[in-house]
């Protein structure tokens, strides 16, 4: 008994409610971050110096740009410019890939130097630094998972636009996918200063 009745407003409401759950999921970890930074302020500064600010800034700008292109894609579709819409969506997906590649190199470098939970170099650091990196991997890791999920969702949308299942008259799924992607962007907007810019 699938409902054929269409309710775009309800659909969007549902997506927002889901975003709230994501916010609180990360919120729990932000709470832990706040607690441990409060307890080990100096250690967090020392640990943060090991991160590459340039890399982090580039990644931030990549995600901000990808949020822009997803919205431009929606506007293009609303104006019936299907190829333009797919173009913008494609850029969004490539941005996601770029972000993940950067992340791979960042993590790779740390792991290579033994800076990871239960790693040799981490054992030499103070408890506060250890906690910083525990949170770093958990939070950026879970964020990365969400980037991947977001990309999969956007890929589905790409196919559906291509097949004319999402059109200028019926694009709430595109908007909802965009909402998810913007959330991923917002989480990073907070992660970036909290992990990279503590000086």
């Amino acid at each position: 008994m699938s409902q054929i009745h269409r309710d775009d407003f309800g659909s969007k409401m549902g997506m927002w409610l889901f975003l709230f759950t994501e916010l609180l999921l990360f919120g729990g970890m932000f709470l832990l971050y706040a607690a441990y930074r409060f307890a080990h302020p100096a250690d967090f500064v020392i640990a943060a110096h090991r991160l590459d600010v340039t890399m982090g800034t580039i990644n931030t700008i990549i995600l901000l740009t990808s949020s822009l292109t997803v919205v431009l894609g929606i506007v293009a579709l609303q104006r019936n410019s299907k190829p333009l819409s797919l173009f913008f969506l494609g850029i969004t997906l490539l941005s996601g890939v770029a972000f993940l590649i950067n992340k791979y190199f960042e993590w790779g470098a740390k792991i290579h130097h033994g800076i990871y939970p239960k790693g040799p170099e981490l054992a030499n650091m103070s408890e506060g630094e250890g906690l910083y990196f525990g949170l770093y991997y958990a939070m950026t890791g879970l964020h990365g998972v969400h980037v991947i999920v977001g990309m999969i969702i956007l890929a589905f949308v790409f196919v559906q636009i291509y097949k004319n299942q999402i059109t200028s008259d019926n694009f709430v799924r595109f908007e909802n996918a965009g909402l998810y992607w913007h959330l991923v962007d917002i989480i990073w907007i907070f992660l970036f200063p909290l992990f990279y810019l503590i000086h």
């Binding site: 309710d7 775009d8 407003f9 309800g10 969007k12 409401m13 927002w16 409610l17 709230f20 916010l23 609180l24 919120g27 932000f30 709470l31 706040a34 607690a35 930074r37 409060f38 307890a39 080990h40 600010v53 800034t57 931030t60 700008i61 901000l64 740009t65 949020s67 822009l68 997803v70 919205v71 431009l72 506007v75 609303q78 104006r79 408890e127 506060g128 908007e175 965009g178 909402l179 913007h182 962007d185 917002i186 907007i189 907070f190 970036f192 200063p193 909290l194 990279y196 810019l197 503590i198 000086h199």
Partner: protein, 105 residues
Amino acid sequence: MTHHETEHKEHTNTGYGIYVLVWLGLVSLTLITVSLAGFNLAGLTVVTALLIASVKSTMVINYFMHIKYESTLFKVFIAVCIIIFLVIIILTFFDLTYRPEILTK
């Protein structure tokens, strides 16, 4: 409660331009927050960083996520969510700030 009214409201299609402007604002704020990190703001470091991040997020939520143009209901929902989250942090910190052992570590 009619479903029809709300659907008409959201189709205020914005042009490309406003989004590009928002993007420029976001990138600027990012560069500002990075350069501020170079200064020693002592106790204000966290507050400043969070403030700028909040402004950026508000821009993303209002424009990219279209909340500025959406029904008030969504704005109320978002407010409820944020309030609950902040309340949780504040109540937890009533414990953390007054526990002596934590501060001496």
